[in-house]
Subunit: 164 residues, 2 copies
């Protein structure tokens, strides 16, 4: 029988902190749907056209349209008109700066999936750094530049913390 | 009217790459529910008891039980027995190594939410590095140590890529 407080690394934030204005909750309100995250994956893979999003994510056109509309409304994608010779004007979708800043989210999912869920032989996709060619991963790092493992991460109430 | 290929940074992965064994999809199959990610947030905040998970995530007991069962089945949480004086034996839930490796996912959501969705005055939660006290964020970084912006990330087919 283990005692509850055997792990001195664990600092429980507890009930004093309100989860009401939690940034994880707010982020999930915008990008918490599986199909939304897969649309974003596609945008990072260079997909820009409506038909391509729907087919590559594997959703119906109406689902793809709903997700793209939400992503534009939240300012993560922007619509740009384009026209091919002899065709009517269409729109393509491109990541905004706010959308591009979601790279660590998509990459963190990929990094973890590559490590624990990939088939033997390695991952199906590699993301390389354009400048040096080295593979890119998502990491937890502190502002002083140290890589941070979970047991070294200490949550505490921030400037706008509310009491529960 | 912009031309479609005006942005030379975009390298579209296209249809040749099968999304079937994509690590992002596989990761989302395990942790793609909003309530699952919030249970994981709680685990990183030190929550370990059933009642606390349910209340702090704001889900019913049956939803909390289902999420905890899945997280244990996928090997992200482990059940450990504990007993307080005069009480029956109960179980607490603790992150496994596989679960702790999800820190960048939860932190990436928080980092982005802090940046774009927090109230004026700053974020409600700060995660500090235990060793040096500096705030911890999720970042995209290459194996050579460079911070990588989205326009510098080049996806290409990996070792087990399938043709679509």
């Amino acid at each position: 029988m283990e005692s509850r407080t055997s792990d001195s690394d664990v600092v429980e934030l507890g009930d004093g902190w309100s989860r009401e204005n939690c940034s994880v909750v707010r982020a999930l309100e915008v990008i918490g749907r599986r199909s939304t995250l897969l649309m974003l994956r596609e945008a990072f893979l260079g997909t820009s056209r409506f038909d391509d999003f729907a087919r590559r994510v594997g959703v119906t056109e109406s689902v793809a349209a709903a997700r793209l509309r939400e992503l534009v409304a939240h300012g993560l994608l922007e619509r740009h008109p384009y026209r091919e010779p002899g065709q009517r004007t269409r729109h393509e979708y491109r990541l905004t700066a706010k959308g591009r800043d979601l790279l660590p989210v998509v990459l963190a999912l990929m990094t973890w999936g590559d490590r624990y869920l990939a088939d033997a032989g390695g991952p199906p996709l590699v993301v390389a750094h354009a400048d040096c060619g080295a593979p890119v991963r998502a990491e937890a790092r502190c502002a002083a530049g140290h890589l941070v493992a979970a047991h070294e991460a200490r949550p505490h109430a921030g400037p706008v913390a509310r009491r529960a």
